[in-house]
């Protein structure tokens, strides 16, 4: 498997925050959801990937090139949508497109015109007079129209209304389907990524907590309702959290669950119910277990 992004043992420190020995691998052609709570280090990691910050240690490879040595050629193949608007506010939408196109030889003017019409963008309006949603659309338009091999989206839909968010995500998905580009999308809006990411990486307090295919992430995380007195000792799965439930039972949040593991309970009716967790619940449980690693691995 080739990797569009291959980060190894990355270390970066600033004031009271640090990324520690971070390793991140984004398979080529994947839509990689980069999850983490606010302040986890997602934006810092992305800035390191784009050469905006210099790491203290570790190596960064993006699209086969080393960062920062090959950053100019890499940036020509990467579309970037940052968390906060970064475009020149004194430009109109039309001028922004012209400006961006001048620096990107593969810029597709027809695609830009299509997207502008699809998003309903007022081409003659100054960016400083656009709404937050319109500004987000302009940034996505520019990133897509430059026909990148890798899209790096840092909270691209944060603060946007559901209609705009849907339009933006659809445009991104259409592009990915058509071009087989790789996408790294960071967000703390877990449910948003659930629908279209095929890989997920979870970052917390500057450390990667989990990195795996989405279906594996979702399918292995379950909530088990078990009878009182059951013990997870020697279980073939990891127990992330244990709590009490009504009627004298317990609730275990587990990772690495497979259907055949019901046999481990020995048909004693100790296992009462297996409940699927949605990505958000899985994410919360994962963070909880990463921050308080008192649980036992199976």
């Amino acid at each position: 498997m080739t990797h569009a992004i291959d980060v190894r043992d990355l270390t970066y420190r600033v004031q009271d925050f640090a990324l520690r020995n971070l390793s991140l691998r984004v398979p080529s052609g994947a839509v990689y959801g980069f999850l983490g709570p606010n302040g986890a280090g997602k934006t810092t990691t992305i800035r390191l990937l784009l050469g905006l910050l210099r790491p203290e240690a570790g190596s960064i490879q993006v699209l086969g090139g080393a960062v920062p040595a090959d950053i100019v050629s890499i940036l020509g193949r990467v579309g970037y949508v940052p968390e906060r608007p970064h475009l020149y506010q004194n430009h109109t939408v039309e001028e922004s497109i012209r400006f961006h196109a001048a620096f990107h030889p593969r810029f597709d003017h027809a695609a830009a015109a299509d997207l502008a019409a699809r998003f309903g963008l007022p081409e003659r309006r100054l960016l400083s007079r656009l709404s937050k949603g319109e500004m987000g659309k302009v940034m996505i338009l520019l990133a897509l129209a430059q026909r990148p091999e890798l899209l790096v989206l840092d909270e691209p839909t944060d603060g946007l209304d559901p209609v705009v968010r849907r339009e933006a995500l659809h445009a991104i998905l259409d592009y990915v389907t058509e071009s087989n580009a790789t996408v790294l999308i960071s967000s703390h809006l877990v449910h948003e990524l659930e629908r279209f990411c095929d890989w997920v990486g979870v970052l917390d307090q500057g450390t990667i907590v989990a990195q795996l295919p989405m279906d594996e992430f979702k399918s292995g995380l379950k909530r088990l309702r078990v009878a009182a007195g059951s013990s997870p000792d020697a279980a073939p799965f990891s127990v992330l959290a244990r709590g009490t439930a009504g009627l004298g039972g317990e609730v275990w949040t587990v990772r690495g669950w497979r259907p055949e593991m019901t046999a481990w309970f020995g048909g004693s009716h100790a296992l009462r119910e297996v409940v699927d967790l949605d990505l958000e619940e899985a994410f919360v449980e994962l963070l909880r277990s990463a921050r308080h690693p008192t649980v036992r691995e199976g």
Binding site: L52, S73, Y88, Q89
Partner: protein
């Protein structure tokens, strides 16, 4: 690339540039206003040229300041993220920004040449006096380039470097004041200023004579 950078800088500073261009066109005619032929014409003309000679370096300084600030303002507002994610070497981007400012400065020099030419062409000057519209415009451009280069470098620095620069200047000021209080004949701030303005210093063109009409 250059064209879009130039358009960006023009959009950022166009009102100030148009005002400066209008001033550059108007100053020469305004300075010679009311100097009529007569026995004292030569004296009047030299006096008028002398009095307005301060306006030209001041205009060059203002133009440099406007263009240098305008060159970086869009990037400062965008926290430089957009510029740094463009697929172009940083040195080249810097040169593009610098060159766009130079071109706009040259346009202001042309405006001054046009204004100075219009004020003097067709005018019969007394014996021994000559008009120097192109020389004046050339000096304007040279002084503007020197000041623009310095101010472009200063306005492009990071907040951290700016703090260091201000701290350095404050230190020089404090040392100069202390030396003055102790009665020492040594003023580092004045030395720095002299070095900048010396005949070989970067701001030397500001010391030249800026007479539209001279002997």
């Amino acid at each position: 690339m250059f064209r879009v950078i130039l358009a960006n800088q023009w959009r950022e500073s166009r009102i100030a540039i148009l005002f400066l261009a209008a001033t550059a066109v108007a100053i020469p005619s305004w300075s010679l206003w009311g100097t009529t032929p007569g026995p004292w014409e030569a004296w009047h003309l030299l006096n008028a040229a002398q009095q307005s000679s301060l306006a030209y370096p001041l205009l060059a300084l203002l133009a440099a300041l406007t263009l240098a600030a305008g060159a970086w303002r869009p990037d400062h507002r965008a926290r430089h993220v957009y510029a740094l994610t463009l697929p172009v070497p940083r040195s080249r981007y810097l040169l593009l920004r610098y060159a766009a400012g130079l071109l706009l400065l040259a346009c202001l020099g042309m405006a001054l040449a046009v204004g100075a030419g219009a004020a003097t062409v067709g005018r019969t000057l007394p014996r021994y006096l000559e008009a120097h519209p192109l020389l004046l415009a050339g000096r304007f451009v040279l002084a503007g380039v020197s000041a623009y280069t310095l101010l472009f470098a200063v306005s492009g620095i990071t907040a951290r470097t700016a703090r260091l620069l201000v701290a350095g200047l404050l230190l020089l000021l404090a040392v100069s004041a202390a030396a003055d209080l102790l009665g020492l004949d040594w003023n580092p701030l004045a030395r720095c200023f002299e070095a900048l303005m010396s005949p070989y210093g970067p701001l030397a063109p500001f010391r030249w004579t800026w007479m539209l009409i001279d002997v």
